[in-house]
Symmetry: C2
Subunit: 107 residues, 2 copies
DNA sequence: AAAGTACTTGCTAAAGTGGAAAGTTCTTGG
DNA sequence: CCAAGAACTTTCCACTTTAGCAAGTACTTT
């Protein structure tokens, strides 16, 4: 016979990092846009520089977003984009949300 | 001319209460099932009695779920179900999530 | 030299959680 | 009648997360 693995609620598969609405929104914005500048994300998600800086660092540390430093003329430009891993985590998270909510046209 | 209301990120419309994965899962379970007993929810969502009791109270206080006390024989039975308001909040929350994630087949 | 741009970091205070354990109110077994 | 359970509830508490503000860094512009 095949051993039955104790089913766990899909909730346990939700990504802790993506639970937070700010990070969720950042990821969503990047997923849509591909790459965005610091200010663009800040304005799109409507948060303070401080908050974005912190959350972006958290996402970077997790390997979900890559932070690129370049220059626009002489001024520094920080651009954000999803890493392959980040995109995968994002899709998995959405799939889990759907699973919990009941995939049927609901969500 | 018509005054332009400063657009706000849909994130601001996410329901704080439904942000929490446990409460999110409880709501999802009740939305699907209609009514569930305390133990059923506890087992479905995989949480401790303590946690469910607390979160259920929070949802009740918010007017999202109605907690019914009845008897199964002589033993008390607590049953939970969504209130009209709770169902509305649930749908709105999902709609906002979809909006942020990018409604296109994504989520 | 002073001010500004683009971020980053330190600090703090408030909130949100969960687990363990004790408490409630009944019911049932000995 | 008393000890045990069942079905929750509440208290206590330790921890984690976050936001916001203020200060700091590294340049550039006036």
């Amino acid at each position: 016979m095949t051993a039955t693995v104790p089913e766990q609620h899909p909730r346990h598969r939700l990504d802790d990092l993506l639970q937070n609405p700010v990070r969720f929104s950042i990821m969503a914005a990047l997923d849509r846009a591909g790459t965005l500048g610091f200010k663009e994300v800040r304005d799109a998600v409507e948060i303070t520089d401080s908050a974005l800086s912190k959350q972006a660092s958290a996402l970077e540390a997790a390997g979900y977003v890559s932070v690129g430093k370049s220059f626009a003329g002489k001024m520094p430009r920080t651009s954000l984009s999803l890493t392959r891993q980040g995109r995968a985590a994002w899709k998995a998270h959405l799939a889990t949300l759907r699973e919990i909510a009941g995939s049927a046209g609901e969500l």
